[in-house]
Subunit: 754 residues, 2 copies
């Protein structure tokens, strides 16, 4: 090994002053044994949780591995790469099917647990209400399903309602508490939605604990429990986490992924799209969600294609399992008939858009405040008790308001549905006489849900925010629709409604579609997503002509929301946790240059070539947590030394007698002749580091960090080091306007909960 | 003006050695008068056709313009930016509506011209057959529509067929010839599809003649004529060109776009999506086409969003105009019923995928060979005669085969449609007895069409390649479907068909869907598009479960096609025309470094600071066509001088007496004291240029060119210039494997035809 260090090694990465091609090739193969050990048991480069991967290094590794496969003689040279690709497609297809089946199983489990809070099936404990009552002729009353008061043969009315509400709330608390206990005991990372962490991971952050098999299991089970407990949360975001866990663990079977962080992330991106696809029954929406929210691979058609394949397979698997027995992928999928919309309806819709923006921003601010408060209060020490308390309160409040009592997905499905004599009346929603009652109840529902969601999203249970947001928006939208409809019924001949058909029995205003508009506006205000949102809702409703109003409301809500503060809820959480994630927003500087934000050279910890000993280097590594150190010689920049590589090289060198070696002078340039007093550390030096002048516009630097996924950039002037900028610097700098940045930051490697 | 040059000016772009903030601001405002003349009549920087824009400069201009608007006092500071944004949305919406209406008008025009080849309406020359015969009761025979033999009262059978075929072919020739003459006389850039040029323009290439108002008009009219003439071409690609022309000319009304090339291109990207949306009735497909084929703005959500809005508005406008009276957006939109597919059908579908890949590659190679041959033969001198000849041959051949005689879109619509007793039999296609005849005719159709399309795509008429490719694929697919159906009917109890329903009257195999699969495979093989293709076809057919087979066939055809040669047909044309367009493909080097492909410093034309006179600089600019020159001082790199800026500055300086000034020494560093012998050229120097070491991997350099849209990169070592690489170098380098690269290259500014 020591031989390598003395000979000047120079692969593509590390270059000597003279590099001849043949020498290059020979030394390349020798060093490759050190840089990328083909021995799968000893991976060359392990990252600790909390660090950021080196994209170029990982891509380089993958390229070398593929070249090794292709350069095999004969049939092996064709067979092995094909096998390689097939392994990747196996993971893709298996993930798709797995996500689809998991989504279906979750639906079934949630339905059963939810029904359990009301009653049970007389002939089988594990049947939900629909399955229990299946096989009946229409019109026949179902006697197999017994409510709890029937089961325990309580006959007094008071006793019945007491028992029902008691069981309802008790089971809510039991479910929520179990979810919290499971998360706390087995998988602390399984709480919350997971999308902020996935965004950071796809951006290069390392957080392996977040994707462990236990997290997968607990997230799935905990999700079913928390949804069934009636807490104000949804399963969409967590499904993305589950999908990514699945892909991560499936890929762990194959060394080509296990040892390459960049390849792993490409699979995760595809899996994330599948998660969204299953959550909404929208494969295209899943792909566009991946493109919009998880922007890392937006330029790589290959990754987008894989995401699409995974999404479709997941959706088709979900359809095949058919959890609701209706061949609908999602409970609240609606077929909007041939209803056309009229120009005057743009007024209430624009109003909904504005409301969505305002309330969305409010929800984000409340949620952030709640999270910060929770962190700094005693509740941070007792998360399970907090969950139990909140679920009890939620159950109590929900029991009082009819629209809160039902499960959110069922509520949304009915709000989206137009009133139809054949479909029955959903808790009096279609009763034209009870308009004001409905408007009041819906507005109350929305208000209460905003409060509950702001607190729930951040507790120690798996929780998503999509469904509650849709429910809030749908309630408000339906309310506005009912009001508009009421106005129309009161003044059918007014000039406003002149475009309505003259026959009053033909429906002119469709409150169900207003609910869809409200939902899109609210989602736009909370998540600030645009295209993926429209596509998801388009695939939920179906008609092309209805896409225009959805687009307008999403656009308006985003503009209004951005006026109150840029960035959706996931961006806020990423900033609070201080993940090193760079948003892809176009950064526009005000004519400033990089010199104003970089770290000047006097503030940096640099290594002076030939002016340190191995012992001093060791102490330097222990003293500072930096990712790496610039190496200079009389001010001139030689290159950059990455901590992990330096540490690994130092430990490799210090095998023999400790004292003489540790006094050796460090030399980052290749040593010509044998010099026992110097240690050749030149293989460690990364010379191909980007250098810029400090006068470049800030915009250019930020752009480079975003588009090239860099970790650091050095600033030089005529070869002399003038400063440095790292990805974390850019992240802090971009987040400077956010008041609660790093409020929930957790030191890497530690669990987010005590 | 001269005052600026003596004082050291230093805005964000050009920096002196010491830059104090206040000095910076003051000088910034002074220089801004020179760099971005608010005078809309005198744009600061005009590009010649054939050059590449400077993205960073244009973005900088836009940023300064926006800052100027926002920094206005009072209400103006809010109103002006809002007005600004509204102008942009006006262009977007107007383009969308315009494209939708144009698409509808084209459909109507093509239908009328096409029908005119068969006959005419007795009471109005400008009615097509459907309009002429409207208002009849079902079952009533239409007497208003007269074929030409009826019109001219020819009664003998021989006379009738002679007259019909004569008029059919004569009008084909007249239409095609008129289209060619219009293109030749008024708008030489209106030929071909336009997508390769649009890709290059979006990548930064300048080709204003391609988007002139005349080109818009001639492309539209010529397209209708060429489609109606029966030539083997489609209107999809040209519609994208028309949409971009429209956006370009609409944006020309507003100075903010007229003078900013980057902003113009963002609008063009949105318009291109609208063009595809109208061509296929698929707004999502349009957006994904923009993302996949015109990758430049894939990372910018804002641009994607605008593309989506434009696409939806265009599709809704098209639907509103309703050119076919059926509220279908596209003629061959089908509603696939609840037909499920069975596992054994994957065998013929995989076969279709492989065939699609093979024939697609064949079509590309034939087309390239034809284009090269045409360029080097006498046909290049007589394009109109070529068009006339080919249209006569096409009409003659088509008249003989029934499936070629009808218009391609009508053929495809019927091939996609399943056989239904109520819908009638399309030229005997549904006749189970005539299976072999149909298979033979369909295969013949496909074969002949491949040959005709390979020649037609590249002639001097507006021509798209999508529809002929779809027709070829649909014919082959239907043939395979008929064969499979025949096999099933012959052996209904075989184990292969065990998953078919036992009742033979229920359809088990749907040949119409096989046609869709065939079309997707062929399109995949020719264009190598993936996601956008699947989305377009998905929106054409509708059912989610059918997406999976479409995806599989597209994937297989792409793999098979890539085995014969990477890149679709548009990439081939871009390479032939040698546009400076960088594909977004992931470039993987074989361990090579940039040093091996860059231009070393000895081969470069550099400017030595203080060693040249203004006269020598002028001569240098005239002698070399380079985009710019590095400026060095004793080997040390000072910066980069762009030709246009240098020329403009030189002409500004040389206002006075020619001789003394032209002998002034050029100084690219600011001059401290007044020195009449030196001319301060420091404002011209671009110091913020990217410098790399020549040992960086090639992959990194190509990646940077792709993602940052750079034009050039300089290589330095300790401040000394070692080499340079430009975008054209990277393009040539990436195209090195393509045999006909630059075969059709045209010097910039010249028309592609003599």
């Amino acid at each position: 090994m020591f031989l390598f260090c003395v000979i000047s090694v120079s692969p593509a990465w590390f270059s000597a002053s003279e590099s001849h091609d043949s020498e290059l090739q020979a030394l390349n193969s020798e060093l490759s044994q050190w840089t990328d050990s083909p021995d799968p048991k000893r991976p060359p480069h392990t990252y600790r949780d909390g660090s950021t991967i080196d994209w170029l290094y990982e891509e380089n590794l993958e390229r070398q591995r593929k070249n090794r496969l292709r350069s095999q003689r004969g049939a092996k040279g064709i067979l092995l790469p094909t096998l390689d690709t097939m392994k990747m497609w196996f993971v893709i297809v298996a993930t798709g099917i797995g996500v689809g089946v998991t989504g279906a199983s979750l639906d079934v489990l949630v339905k059963w647990l939810g029904d359990l809070r009301e009653g049970r099936c007389s002939y089988g404990f594990f049947y939900n209400q629909v399955a229990c009552c299946s096989g009946l002729d229409p019109g026949e009353i179902c006697t197999e399903w017994r409510t709890w008061s029937e089961w325990f043969s309580v006959h007094s009315i008071l006793g019945q309602s007491l028992l029902q509400s008691f069981v309802y709330m008790a089971l809510a608390v039991v479910f929520a508490g179990s979810a919290a206990i499971l998360v706390q005991t087995y998988a602390p990372y399984a709480f919350h939605t997971g999308i902020p962490e996935i965004k950071a991971i796809l951006g290069g952050y390392v957080l392996d604990a977040f994707l462990s098999p236990w997290t997968l299991l607990i997230k799935g089970v905990g999700l079913a429990l928390s949804v069934a407990s009636g807490l104000s949360l949804g399963k969409e975001g967590p499904l993305v986490h589950v999908a990514c866990c699945m892909a991560y663990n499936l890929s762990g079977f194959f060394p080509q992924f296990r040892h390459n962080e960049a390849q792993k992330r490409k699979l995760l991106a595809a899996a994330a799209a599948a998660g969204v696809s299953v959550a909404f029954g929208s494969p295209l929406g899943g792909v566009l969600f991946g493109l919009e929210e998880l922007e890392t691979f937006a330029n790589e058609t290959e990754v987008i294609w894989r995401g699409f394949v995974t999404s479709v397979i997941a959706a088709v698997s979900l359809q095949y399992v058919d959890p609701f027995g209706t061949s609908k992928l999602v409970l609240f999928q609606v077929t909007s008939g041939s209803d056309t919309w009229r120009a005057f309806e743009l007024v209430p819709w624009l109003f909904l858009g504005v409301i969505g923006g305002i309330l969305g921003s409010l929800l984000i601010k409340l949620n952030v405040a709640a999270a910060v408060y929770r962190r700094n209060s005693i509740m941070h020490e007792w998360p399970v008790l907090e969950v139990i308390g909140v679920s009890a309160i939620t159950a109590a409040i929900s029991y009082l308001v009819v629209f809160l009592r039902v499960q959110s997905s069922e509520l949304v499905a009915n709000l989206f549905q137009e009133c139809d004599a054949s479909k029955g009346d959903y808790h009096g929603l279609c009763n034209p006489v009870a308009m004001w009652r409905n408007v009041f109840l819906l507005t109350l529902t929305a208000t209460v849900k905003i409060g509950l969601t702001a607190w729930t999203f951040g507790m120690m249970v798996p929780a998503g925010i999509f469904l509650p947001t849709i429910a809030i928006g749908a309630s408000l939208g339906r309310a506005v629709g009912l009001l508009t409809q009421g106005m129309y019924r009161a003044h059918p001949t007014s000039w406003i409604f002149s475009s309505c058909p003259p026959d009053p029995t033909v429906r002119c205003i469709s409150p169900g579609f207003y609910a869809v508009i409200g939902a899109s506006a609210m989602l736009g205000g909370v998540t600030r997503m645009t295209i993926s949102l429209v596509v998801i809702l388009f695939e939920l409703t179906g008609a092309l002509s209805h896409v225009l109003p959805i687009m307008i409301s999403v656009m308006v809500s985003k503009w209004v929301g951005d006026a109150f503060g840029e960035g959706g809820i996931y961006t806020a959480w990423i900033a609070m946790r201080r993940y090193p994630w760079l948003p892809s927003v176009e950064y526009k500087d005000q004519g400033e240059v990089a010199a104003q934000v970089m770290r000047p050279v006097d503030e940096l910890v640099v290594i002076e070539n030939r002016k340190c000993t191995l012992k001093e280097l060791d102490a330097l590594l222990k003293a500072h947590e930096f990712h790496g150190f610039p190496v200079v010689q009389e001010g001139q920049l030689l290159g950059y030394a990455i901590r992990d590589r330096l540490r690994a090289f130092l430990s490799m060198l210090s095998t023999g007698a400790a004292t003489e070696q540790s006094e050796q002078i460090c030399s980052f340039l290749p040593i010509r002749s044998e010099d026992p007093g110097s240690a050749d550390l030149s293989p460690v030096l990364e010379k191909a580091v980007l250098q810029l002048r400090k006068e470049v516009p800030q915009e250019l630097v930020v752009n480079m960090f975003q588009k090239l996924s860099l970790r650091h950039v050095l600033f030089t002037q005529s070869g002399k080091l003038t400063g440095m900028m790292t990805k974390s610097d850019v992240v802090s700098f971009l987040n400077a306007h956010f008041p609660h940045a790093a409020a929930l930051a957790v030191p890497p490697g530690q669990s987010p909960w005590p």
